[in-house]
Every structure is written in structure tokens, then in C-alpha cells.
Amino acid sequence: MRSPHRTNDSPDRTAHAPGPSLVRLSDLPPGVLRDIALVWLADAVVGVSFGAIAVAGGLPLWVPVLMSLLVYAGSAQFSAVGLLTAGGGPVAAAATGLLLNSRTAAFSLALADDLGRSWAARLIGAHLITDETAAFVLAQDEGKARRAAFWISGIGLFLAWNVSVLTGALAGTALGDTDRFGLDAAFPAVLLALVLPALRADGAARRASAAGAVIAVAAAPLLPAGMPVLLALLGLLAARRGPRRPRTTAPGSAS
């Protein structure tokens, strides 16, 4: 019944309830909301450490805060801040972050049906696509539950992330030397926790990552910060040497 043009009357509603019906908590299967809330909490802890690490590394407060609002992608933010504070330069920081975030394009294609129909829902929803929201949506089988999972986890995560990053950034200035609290170990540990599922599942990724890590660590004393990490992409060549490859090299049939 509702004409798409009338969505202008209630912008709030379009943000929370794309399409003809409202997203309801009851659309979620039992237990899912608890799982979602746990992820909000976990990401809030990560957000606090992100804010604190960024400020402790010497960046002004607005950098982690603005980045969290506009980029809103944990691993890319960590890598960008890691490169910026290590002196890797803004170009390497942006390039690495973009390469890391290119995977959200794949998630966004997978989730395209679940944001809602209106353009407002799609434009706002797009910004909320993250690894976590994608995981929650893909775990539901039915349309209503998928859309509810997307908007509930997405909006909550956006709020949790940004509030916690601001908190961490404010605390980081007060904490002083965060190395004393071991926060410099938190950043690699976060990345490790993020990649572990992919490494577990994919042998090609394991080989490529191992080769890439060796290249990057070996190059670290020799090259300016930022370069070793990009150089690690050479490790992708190792991914091709999988068990699927025929023993005798036959260029015509290899690919």
C-alpha cells in the first residue's frame, strides 16, 4: 500500500524498517539476540583498544573517531592505524585498508536481498555491512529473520563500535604509556583471531599467508614500514601450488 515516495515523511522509520513492515526483535530465532549482544560486547572491547592504541601511537583523537564513523571496518582501521603510527605513510595505509576491505564487496553481493527494498535502506544498510553482520545474516535461513538479524546486529554494532572507540581514545590519552598494559600485543592478537577461521578452513590461504608472513618479517628490517606488508602479497604465488595442480606442468590445462 505504501508508496515509495512517502518514505520521506518518516526517515527514521526507513532507516530501521526498510520495506513494508517493521523489523521486530521477535523475527529473530531464540538465542540469536544473545549471540548478537555478545558480539557487540566483544567488539566494544576491541573498539576501546583500537581507540587507545591509535592515540597512544601518537595520532590525534579525531583520527580514530572519524575513521570509525566513516570507514567502520575493524581490521582495515587497525591496519591503517598500524601503518600510520609506524611511519608507513598515508598512501600505504589507505592502500592496505582498501585491499582488506575489498572483501566487503563480496559480502555486500551476498547480503543485497536482505537490506530491504527502498533506496534509503540500501544506502544506509550498505554502510552497516561488516564481517559480523554478514555472519549473522548468513546464519539465518528465512527472509524476515535475515533482515532482522541484519538491522539489529548492524545498528547495535555501529553504536557499540563508535562509542567504544571514542571511549578508548579518551582513555588512551589518560593512560599514557599503553605498552605498560600490553596493548601493543592486543592489536596482532585481534588480527590473529580475525584470520584464524579463514586459515582453518582454507589450505591455499594457509600456504599463501605463511609465505607472505615470512617475506614480510624478513623484509621488515630492510624496507620502510608499510612496504613489507604489501610485499607479502607475493605469498599469493604459493597459494597456486596446491594439491590440485597436476604433477606434470601442462600450461594449457593448468587453469
Binding site: 582498501l98 585491499l99 592486543a186 596482532p188 591455499a204
Partner: protein, 104 residues
């Protein structure tokens, strides 16, 4: 313009463009499976390289033993499927305690 601000804005614009791919291209374009796979593996390789250099090096030298030890503990916790928050807190606490004990 401030180079750091430019970095944040470029990263934000590019990321939003990736996120719009689904809603905009939906049903019209399909990325070849090989390209998707390469992007996924590439992202993993970058993250692992970043965490390896982040755990072991500081500037162009060795970071000391406390940090990689903490990261290793975080990795073991993650491997045993401990909650994310525990991984972060565990790694930081281990490193902090080692430093308190005088390990560099």
C-alpha cells in the same frame, strides 16, 4: 589537505563503494569465482603479514619477547575458540605481566 585526513577519506570512500556493490549491482554482475577467491586469500595474506610484523618488529628492529609471547597466548586462546574479548585481554595481560617481570 592534511595527508592523514586524506587517507581516512579515501579509505572511507573506497570502502563505501565496496559496500554499495551488492545493492547497486545486484543481479546484474557476478564476480568470477577466481577473482573472489583471490581477493579473499589476498585479504588473509595481508592480515597475517600485518600481525606477524606487528608481533615481532618495532620500527625496523625486534620488538622484544613480551609482545610475541602475548600474541602467541592470544593465538592459542583463539585456536581453542575462546571468546574474542578473552583473546584480546589475555594477550595484553600476558605481555603486561612479562614486562612487569622485567622481560623486554
Amino acid at each position: 589537505m592534511n595527508a592523514t585526513l586524506a587517507c581516512v577519506l579515501v579509505l572511507a570512500a573506497g570502502t563505501y563503494a565496496f559496500r554499495l556493490a551488492g545493492p547497486v549491482l545486484h543481479g546484474r554482475v557476478h564476480l568470477p569465482a577466481r577473482v573472489q577467491e583471490l581477493l579473499t586469500v589476498g585479504a588473509t595474506v595481508l592480515l597475517v603479514a600485518l600481525l606477524a610484523t606487528g608481533a615481532l618488529t618495532e620500527g625496523q628492529g625486534f620488538a622484544g619477547w613480551s609482545r610475541p609471547a602475548g600474541v602467541l597466548l592470544g593465538g592459542i586462546l583463539a585456536w581453542r575458540r575462546a571468546p574474542f574479548a578473552l583473546v584480546v585481554v589475555g594477550a595484553a595481560t600476558a605481555t603486561a605481566l612479562l614486562r612487569l617481570a622485567g622481560v623486554p
